[in-house]
């Protein structure tokens, strides 16, 4: 299977999914969909051993060769790890969704098409080596996320959340595109690998910092970093399988992937180090602090995801310090990259299982409000066990993988003391302290999540449904993840060697040539002299005390003003742009076709006059003119009389017939000047349009509507000026174009080639279908669109009238 094909496999399968959903209603569509991620996992697993040896794979598909845009799939340790996460978690999520979404009530066709679309997009993001195709897939993930969040589109909150996530992530995506373009211009290539090779020369360039910041905005919006995180809690309106998949395990990690992937390019700048580390830590603290305030199970998890993403982000930032130090210090900081990837993997396992448990609780009790829940332990023992494993891992308690990576994280923040380039002195202390405080809150919300749901008093009268254990099928996926949580704790180095080291080698190409060079060994026990150990013990102690006294100190959240929040700012901004755009367009979109015609003609006059004047184009040359024949004068007189009739008549019927007369006389001119094609077309068009006018007659307002008063005079003056302007301009252009032949007429070319190359005799028609066939194709497309528009407008009007009549009948 070629790598490119593997990326697009989900989209290809998505094409048949709606048919499967319609035709085979007895089998849940999810079972068919499940085949895709399972096949892909099997496919990517075969690469593992070669990737561990440091081999990389590449596959290229020329997309737009003339613009040097291609889809390049590049597999190294980092992209393989992500690909396995995407397809592996994807398989579990699809399996879970089979039991979560009812096959008779839900629009499964839509759901799985979106999900497969996302899968392809995400694989594309993590495997693209070409910046433009990376951007393309990146936006595709935003769009599929939008569709999935809005899956229950009849709910207001779903639509709001979908729009919010799209607004923010697409904004970030556009910023990122700007950064990519700058990078592409500076490096004269769009290939990430080639840019990495040029990194040392790129650093000094003028726009390097701008490109860096723009790319980071893209990464921060996608990975829900402060202050862009606000879309993630609202995205929780999506069905839970989606939240587990997109909004915790994969899509929100695309920003982390981007930071990891671009580390070799940008890390040489200190701005990168401090931005990534600082924003990451701030997000970690912010997210963990506000997670405790939430009352919705999924909202707790959303804030916890925000904070965990911040944690990984800051680790990646600390890891990039390795580019600024030498000697032994390098490994101290590459260790942070190692910890980042390790925690990223652990987070996918425990957070995925927790989301699925939140979904199960919602599914089996009918609510996710933690204030109504409690005492489910005895009713849902298996769910409780899984939730315990997930939460304890999240809290960083031993026997679960979260403990290992959390210790590594604390170690990494402590390692900042060795980086004193800018005479940090004691400033570095700030980082471990923030990390420690955030860890305390993480501990608190982890316990809050699991104990408030499953311990305490059972409140059956508050629950919409009678609680009971979920079906076995629904429990499989979270159970698999929970088992992984424990396995990783006991054999962390197996996972370390297989997945993490190759990925770290991709982030730190300067430090490590092949994955085997990455010499880290994960240990649960570091001895009594490890500061991280005491920090962890402190977290447990303080965290437990804070959890016990949770009711006493949570009122402080109420002291924060709601209006000043980031969400308030977002709402204000959306409202402003909504209203502003509305006001702006309603100022000129009056709905009156007369105004529109005035705008258009005025623009034509202005443009033509401006060009004529600046180019000094007007010339009049009276030599070489043909003599005027008698019947030409005659036709002109008829033309003028009919035109004047249109202006002065009081009857619309007369006006229309006079207009027809104008058309026919023009056709006569065509005949005199030997343009039979034009004459023929003009004649038929006049005939048909007169008939059309007669049809439209009925709908037009009374003609004397505008006949009275001062406004009418102004209106007429306006029209007079416009008409005069157009007439004068067109006449001037006609005279000028006749008077100077600057370039050779193209008709000679047509005459020479019409038979020999186009195989025709009638130049006019050959122009239409061959020389300028593109124009014709677009014209008939426009015609079609226009007619559909007219049909739409009139049918809506008819429907409205019918509706009115119904009301009257009542």
């Amino acid at each position: 299977m070629s790598l490119i094909f593997a990326i697009f496999l989900p989209i290809l399968v998505a094409i048949v999914i709606p048919f499967l959903f319609k035709k085979i209603s007895s089998i849940h569509t999810g079972w068919f969909v499940l085949i895709v991620p399972v096949v892909l996992v099997g496919h990517y697993v075969t690469y593992i051993s070669a990737i561990m040896d440091g081999t990389t794979y590449i596959d290229k598909f020329e997309w737009i060769p003339s613009l040097d845009i291609s889809v390049v799939s590049y597999i190294d340790g980092l992209s393989l790890l992500f690909s396995l996460l995407i397809t592996g978690i994807g398989a579990l999520v699809v399996l879970y969704s089979v039991f979560y979404l009812d096959k008779d009530r839900e629009k499964l066709g839509n759901f799985y098409v979106y999900l497969l679309l996302f899968m392809s997009a995400m694989l594309g993001v993590v495997q693209s080596d070409h910046l433009i195709s990376l951007y393309f897939f990146w936006e595709l993930t935003s769009i599929s996320s939008f569709l999935l969040i809005g899956y229950w589109y009849t709910k207001d909150r779903s639509r709001f959340g979908a729009l919010k996530s799209m607004m923010i992530t697409v904004f970030g995506g556009l910023m990122m595109l700007g950064g990519f373009v700058l990078l592409g211009i500076m490096g004269e290539t769009f290939s990430i690998r080639e840019l990495i090779e040029q990194a040392p020369t790129l650093v000094g360039q003028e726009f390097f910092i701008l490109a860096l910041v723009l790319v980071l905005i893209g990464a921060f919006t996608k990975s829900a970093q402060f202050p862009f995180y606000i879309w993630l809690p609202d995205a929780m309106e999506a069905p839970t399988p989606v939240s587990a998949y997109l909004h915790s395990a994969t899509m929100v990690k695309a920003g982390l992937y981007l930071v990891a992937r671009f580390t070799p390019i940008f890390a040489l700048s200190e701005v990168w180090v401090w931005l990534v580390t600082g924003v990451g830590l701030l997000t970690l603290l912010w997210g963990s602090f506000f997670a405790v305030k939430q009352t919705d199970l999924k909202a707790i998890l959303a804030f916890s995801t925000v904070s965990q993403l911040g944690l990984i982000m800051s680790l990646l930032g600390i890891g990039s310090i390795s580019y600024h130090v030498t000697g032994d210090l390098v490994t101290i900081f590459t260790f942070a990259s190692f910890a980042a990837i390790f925690h990223l993997m652990n987070h996918a396992t425990f957070k995925g299982s927790l989301f699925m448990i939140a979904g199960i609780v919602d599914h089996e009790t009918g609510t996710r409000d933690i204030r109504k829940l409690g005492g489910l332990m005895s009713l849902m023992p298996i769910s409780f066990t899984i939730a315990m494993i997930g939460s304890f891992s999240m809290a960083g308690i031993p026997l679960f993988n979260g403990f290992l990576s959390k210790e590594m994280f604390l170690d990494a923040t402590l390692s900042l003391q060795h980086f004193n380039v800018h005479s940090l002195e004691s400033w570095w202390m700030l980082f471990p302290i923030v990390a420690w405080i955030a860890s305390v809150f993480t501990f608190v919300y982890s316990l809050y999540f699991v104990l408030h749901t499953f311990r305490g008093k059972y409140k059956p009268d508050l629950l919409p449904k009678k609680a009971h254990e979920a079906p076995i099928g629904m429990l499989i996926s979270p159970a698999v993840l929970a088992v992984l949580v424990i396995i990783i704790f006991f054999v962390p180095n197996y996972f370390g060697n297989t997945f993490i080291k190759p990925a770290v080698a991709a982030i730190q190409p300067l430090a490590y040539k092949v994955p085997a060079d990455v010499g880290f060994h994960i240990k649960a026990w570091h001895g009594f002299d490890s500061i991280a150990l005491y920090m962890t013990l402190g977290v447990f102690l303080i965290g437990f005390l804070l959890y016990k006294s949770i009711a006493k100190w949570t009122p402080i959240y109420g002291m924060l003003p709601a209006r000043m929040s980031l969400n308030g700012f977002y709402d204000w901004l959306m409202n402003l742009s909504d209203k502003g755009a509305n006001r702006l367009s309603s100022s000129y979109m009056t709905g009156s076709i007369r105004s529109y015609l005035i705008y258009m003609f005025a623009a034509v006059i202005a443009l033509l006059a401006f060009t004529m004047w600046t180019k000094d184009a007007f010339v009049i040359n009276l030599t070489n003119l043909a003599p005027i024949q008698f019947f030409e004068i005659l036709i002109s007189v008829v033309l003028i009389i009919s035109t004047i009739t249109i202006l002065v008549t009081k009857s619309r019927l007369t006006a229309i017939i006079s207009l027809g007369a104008v058309g026919y006389t023009v056709a006569l001119f065509y005949i005199i000047f030997k343009a039979p094609d034009l004459a023929l077309t003009q004649l038929v068009i006049e005939t048909v349009s007169v008939a059309l006018f007669l049809g439209a007659f009925y709908h037009l307002p009374k003609m004397d509507k505008y006949e009275k008063g001062k406004e009418d005079r102004l209106f007429r003056l306006n029209n007079f000026l416009i008409a005069l302007g157009v007439g004068v301009m067109v006449s001037l252009i006609a005279i000028a174009s006749h008077s100077q032949k600057l370039v050779k007429s193209i008709s000679e070319y047509y005459k020479e080639t019409v038979y020999s190359e186009a195989g025709g005799g009638n130049i006019v028609n050959v122009i239409l279908v061959d020389y300028r066939g593109f124009d014709t194709l677009f014209e008939i497309s426009v015609l079609t669109i226009a007619s559909l528009g007219i049909i739409g407008m009139i049918t809506v009007r008819l429907a409205k009238k019918k509706g009115d009549r119904k009301v009257e009948n009542k």
Partner: protein, 140 residues
């Protein structure tokens, strides 16, 4: 008031077919003499308009029970596929080909892919004009 349309109705019955044949003629002749898909389509529409004037909208709709939106769509599709067909032969989009064939009855005839393209134009023009006239005329 009862109108007497006898003359126009009787004439229309004959003239309609003449115009119709004329529209076919100028469509096919278009590549060498004045005419083509656009004019041909317009002439065809004017024939139908004549029918509508002589009889009424409903009668014409019963006589020619076409869905003009579908005709428009088919026409657009034919044009687009003719233009895109060249990609299949690995030549640029919109490359036309032609050759001369000895057809029964017609003798030596040139067949040009532009003709298929023009067929699409013809159908779109008929579809669009009839659709608009029917819609506006029928909206009471």
């Amino acid at each position: 008031m009862k109108t007497n349309d006898l003359i126009i109705q009787t004439t229309t019955k004959v003239v309609f077919f003449i115009i119709f044949l004329f529209s076919i003629h100028i469509f096919f002749a278009g590549h060498y003499t004045p005419g083509g898909g656009f004019v041909g389509g317009l002439v065809m529409s004017s024939a139908i308009v004549l029918l509508m004037l002589a009889f009424d909208l409903k009668t014409v709709r019963d006589m020619l029970p076409f869905n003009y939106t579908v005709i428009t769509a088919i026409g657009l599709l034919i044009s687009l596929l003719t233009a895109a067909g060249s990609i299949y032969f690995n030549v640029p989009f919109f490359t036309h080909v032609y050759d001369y064939f000895n057809l029964p009855l017609l003798g030596e005839t040139s067949i040009h892919t532009a003709m298929f393209f023009d067929t699409g134009v013809y159908l779109v023009v008929v579809g669009v004009t009839m659709n608009i006239i029917q819609m506006i005329g029928g909206d009471e």
